[in-house]
């Protein structure tokens, strides 16, 4: 207790020391950077998840191929969550002479809990509604056309007559691109009474929940620790379509990377300030030791001072980060209109914990070594300056950095790449700095006095210069990494959904309609027309053995065996498909060939050379597997698991599926087209595209905000790191002024010194960021063909030199403007 009081008193007396202030400021900055980023990230992730929840109709859910045990609903009720039950299944609807297979979703009237169910009436007006009441059904446009029905008519579903209460315009559909079968929404009780959900039905039952985020999280934790029924799975916003998930994953990784690099930057600044503080305290510690203070007591005193500094600084950091996060949210929240998000305090508190860990990790080694100062040093200062070549204590900051990378990156690959890149940069920067300093010392004697003075100053403070160059290189690498990856990431997202992405799909196009339909489309201004043949059949055998007699490990096969299979064919490999094994079809293959997507290959354990049998219409077709394809399902194109060779597949009974882009506002013309070709089903995916674009826009906005804050934090920490050597120069500049050096000379000398320092840092950082950025971009953010351009990086290296020079000059300005007399007296 006594020692703590002593430490606090010492802290109060030493508070004027710039190193202590830098230490405190670095900690505040670290906590603010981590806290703001973490708070904003938490809020934006919440916002992003909330918009994903709109796609699944609830915050969270659980589904299974049979009725769900009541405990799932009970657990939700206990937590005060709103609930809706649904069941999805295929069923045939009848209307007079017509019949049509529909994809039916039976729901209670609470559906959907999140997102919008858009219903059209007989007059074409649209309203937002809920699941249909008993005795009614909602049919989508295709179902209405196929069954020749209109709103207000009735259809028979599961043996019951149901009145069509409206047209199903839009429903929370998990972000599915285009449902192949027409859709219907009916009442859950009706489905039950009609026996559609009984034993042997292929219905998938779900419970969806929504409510207070903490209650939802609590239910999620409970459900994750509860055994699910056979075939059951949790429905989470993260599981919405692949293309959304990609954006979330990459955005999350990027936000974490940004926070992590900010924390490491602060660590670098803290390490520099602590080193300086330890040097300043050396004579005091040797005096204390000489006066009989034990090493343990000295250490306690130093740690007490550090603790006394850390706690209020961390508290200020937390308050500032909360205030800044709230202010930033006021600007950013428009991106998440309608998403309620309370200010989370946990990320800021966690940031304070991390900040204190960074402070301890980076500041401890010099302070612990300080306690080792010999009492004899009181007589001979040189004894206090003995530096160990290798000090195991300096593994602590490395370990803290690794722990931070590990805890924040959430990905072994990201952590590995960062650790390797940053260590590489540190080693190269230190080596390059040592080499350039060695060269500078030898080539400068003939140069301008200012240049010689600057170089000499750097070379004489060799150790500090190398530490500074390394620290600056690491800081710049962090900033450049973000600067390289962010635009490529944002561009990548934008490129995934260019403005002319096909926004309409046409199903059921017949062979003889193709030419005329294409012409008509061109006349109304449609573009990007792409047609693919479509045959519907069943997959029945592998190498002559019926698939229902083969035991597959993958449980999904059971589901797929029952489904209708869609086959297509093409002369050339479609875009967004890549052959990963085997070869694409030769022009005239002797026997039928099939190219298989990797998911099907894995599901059915297929090998090249296997023969797959398909029943299509009345006939049967055996096709040899000649290639496996990787399909990019995130592209907005029509893709198929199975592609046949055209020579053999052309004879199969088929229709055509087409996609095209039609600028908005042409729907009238399209309606005319629809009347000319009444058999066609036209599907508008603009709404879905809009939702995906909106989410991408939200994610992009989130990244920009967080990036802006991190860059600012990075720049501030960088400036703090530079300032730590300011004191070192003060005495030197004062003496040089006394000896008659002009201000201009000192300024140019400082400019040369800082420019060289900046150049070393810039070159190393540019190289490090180029290699690290390339690596991160390719293997963590999956940016296609990513290659950072060297010229902007070279420019950035030069710019870094200029910025470091200017910051350095700004730091020495005060020194060169103070009368030398006052400086000497202040020493």
């Amino acid at each position: 207790m006594k020692i703590l009081l002593l430490a606090l008193r010492s802290l109060r007396r030493e508070w004027h020391l710039p190193e202590l202030r830098t230490l405190a400021a670095s900690l505040v900055l670290a906590v603010v950077a981590l806290g703001v980023v973490a708070t904003l990230t938490a809020r934006m992730e919440h916002g992003i998840l909330a918009s994903a929840a709109e796609l699944i109709g609830g915050d969270l859910g659980v589904s299974a191929p049979q009725d769900l045990p009541e405990k799932f609903a009970d657990a939700a009720r206990e937590r005060g969550l709103a609930m809706t039950h649904t069941a999805g299944f295929p069923s045939v609807a009848f209307a007079q002479q017509q019949s049509q297979l529909l994809e039916v979703l039976a729901t209670d009237t609470a559906y959907p809990l999140r997102g919008t169910l858009l219903i059209g009436d007989a007059q074409g007006r649209q309203r937002v509604g809920h699941g249909p009441a008993g005795g009614t059904v909602l049919l989508d446009h295709r179902a209405l056309v196929a069954l020749h029905r209109q709103v207000g008519d009735s259809v028979q579903l599961g043996g019951r007559d149901l009145r069509i209460a409206g047209e199903l315009v839009q429903q929370p559909d998990g972000g599915e691109l285009v449902a192949m079968a027409p859709r219907a929404l009916m009442n859950l009780d009706d489905a039950q009474q009609a026996g559609l959900l009984g034993v042997g039905s292929r219905a998938r039952h779900s419970v969806l929940l929504a409510g207070n985020p903490s209650a939802v999280q609590s239910w999620r934790q409970w459900a994750q620790s509860t055994p699910l029924p056979p075939g059951g799975e949790l429905i989470t916003p993260e599981q919405t379509q692949e293309r959304m998930r990609n954006a979330f994953d990459r955005a999350g990784a990027f936000l974490r990377l940004t926070a992590l690099l900010s924390a490491l930057l602060s660590g670098v600044a803290i390490a520099l300030a602590a080193q300086r503080y330890a040097r300043r305290k050396t004579s005091e510690v040797s005096l204390l030791r000489a006066l009989g203070t034990s090493r343990a007591r000295v250490l306690g005193l130093l740690l007490g001072t550090l603790g006394g500094l850390a706690l209020p600084a961390a508290a200020i950091g937390v308050l500032l980060s909360l205030a800044l996060a709230e202010a930033a949210w006021m600007f950013a929240s428009q991106l998440f209109a309608g998403v309620p998000t309370e200010l989370p305090t946990l990320p800021s508190l966690a940031a304070a914990g991390m900040g204190v860990a960074v402070l301890a990790g980076f500041a401890l080694p010099p302070l612990v070594r300080l306690a080792d100062v010999s009492p004899v040093a009181v007589f001979r200062a040189s004894l206090a300056r003995q530096i160990r070549r290798f000090d195991a204590l300096y593994l602590i900051p490395a370990a803290v950095a690794l722990a931070l990378i590990w805890s924040l990156s959430d990905s072994v690959r990201l952590a590995g790449i960062l650790a390797v890149s940053l260590s590489g940069v540190a080693v190269v920067a230190a080596g390059l700095a040592a080499l350039l300093l060695w060269i500078a010392r030898r080539i400068t004697p003939g140069g301008h006095p200012a240049l010689r003075l600057g170089m000499a100053a750097l070379a004489r403070r060799r150790g500090l210069s190398i530490v500074q160059a390394t620290a600056l290189s690491l800081g710049l690498t962090a900033l450049l990494l973000l600067a390289i990856v962010a635009p490529a990431l944002l561009d990548g997202w934008r490129q995934e959904l260019p403005a002319d992405t096909p926004n309409w799909f046409v199903l059921n196009l017949q062979d003889d309609q193709r030419a005329d339909f294409s012409k008509s489309l061109a006349q109304i201004g449609a573009d990007q027309l792409n047609m693919m043949p479509l045959a519907v059949g069943k997959f029945t055998a592998i190498n002559g053995r019926p698939i229902d007699q083969i035991a597959f490990k993958d449980p999904r096969t059971k589901d797929w065996n029952d489904r209708q299979l869609r086959l297509s064919w093409s002369d050339s490999l479609p875009p967004s498909n890549t052959i990963i094994a085997g070869h694409w079809f030769a022009p005239h293959p002797a026997e039928a060939e099939v190219s298989v997507d990797t998911m099907w290959r894995d599901m059915y354990a297929l090998k090249l050379g296997d023969t797959m049998r398909f029943d299509v219409g009345e006939g049967q077709l055996d096709a040899k597997v000649t290639s496996f394809r990787h399909v990019d399902w995130t592209s907005f194109r029509v893709n198929f698991f199975l592609l046949m060779d055209p020579l053999h597949a052309n004879a199969l009974p088929h229709t055509w599926i087409a996609s095209f882009y039609l600028p908005r506002g042409h729907t009238e013309a399209l309606a005319g087209l629809s009347r000319t070709y009444p058999n066609l089903s036209l599907v508008d995916v603009d709404a879905l595209l809009d939702r995906v674009r909106e989410i991408v826009q939200r994610v992009t906005g989130a990244v920009r905000w967080v990036l802006g804050f991190s860059l600012l934090a990075g720049a501030l920490v960088l400036a703090a790191a530079l300032a730590t050597s300011g004191q070192e120069r003060r005495h030197e500049a004062a003496l040089l002024r006394t000896l008659g050096a002009r201000r201009g000379l000192l300024r140019i000398a400082a400019a040369c010194e800082f420019a060289l320092l900046g150049l070393i840092a810039g070159i190393t950082a540019a190289l490090g960021a180029m290699i690290g950025g390339w690596w991160l971009g390719r293997s963590v953010f999956h940016i296609k063909d990513f290659m950072p351009h060297p010229w902007p990086l070279a420019l950035a290296a030069l710019l870094a030199a200029v910025v470091v020079m200017l910051l350095g000059l700004a730091g020495t300005r005060k020194v060169t403007h103070t009368p030398p007399m006052r400086l000497l007296r202040a020493e």
């Binding site: 000896l739 008659g740 000497l824």
Partner: protein
């Protein structure tokens, strides 16, 4: 008060009497609020800080009580400083000569922390005369040294004064040291009184 070329001049006085302030004014480190100071014909109060710095570089050498050697530089590098400021290409050779003159050739690669107090002050003297200043200001040059070392340092200062005709202005409270100067004044309550 006037100090003539080649003269040795001592300013004595009690602690806090303003000796160092006066020295700073004489050397052009600061400017007087009232009155006038002329150094080699230049009115210091009419020159700006830059011009005074030029004048110091050309004419003035300094020796301080606490040596003011730069800790990161070796003895030789410390001595080279004034010549580097002039852009003198022979700085290293001249610095070595100066160190030899104060009998520290063997310590030129040592850092200040590795030198004794007397050695540090001799390095400071070498730095003070390496660029052949016309006037040398010394602020309590023996204040941090033992009597014998102090005497040795003073011998060096007076040898410079004698051999090179360098004007020596020193501030001290050591009357024995002051007595070695040709002229002596005492600063008392802001007034200079000649000492017998």
């Amino acid at each position: 008060m006037q100090v003539n070329t080649g003269e040795s001049f001592a300013i004595v006085g009690a602690s806090g009497s303003g000796k160092t302030t006066l020295l700073g004014l004489l050397a052009g480190l600061d400017t007087p609020t009232r009155g006038s100071i002329r150094l080699d014909g230049h009115s210091l109060e009419q020159l700006d800080e830059e011009a005074r710095a030029d004048l110091r570089r050309r004419l003035v050498g300094f020796v301080f009580q606490s040596f003011h050697l730069l800790p990161a530089l070796t003895a030789e590098q410390n001595v080279m400083l004034p010549l580097e400021l002039e852009g003198n290409p022979a700085a290293r050779e001249r610095a070595r000569e100066a160190l030899a003159a104060v009998e520290l050739s063997g310590r030129r690669k040592h850092y200040p922390a590795q030198l004794s107090g007397g050695e540090q002050q001799r390095v400071a003297i070498a730095r003070a005369f390496v660029h052949r200043p016309r006037i040398l200001f010394a602020d309590e040059p023996t204040g941090n040294l033992d009597r014998r070392t102090g005497r040795h340092v003073c011998d060096l200062l007076f040898a410079l004064n004698r051999d090179h005709g360098t004007t020596l202005v020193l501030v001290t409270h050591d009357l024995q040291l002051a007595e070695r100067c040709v002229r002596r004044v005492e600063l008392q309550e802001g007034k200079l009184e000649p000492l017998a």
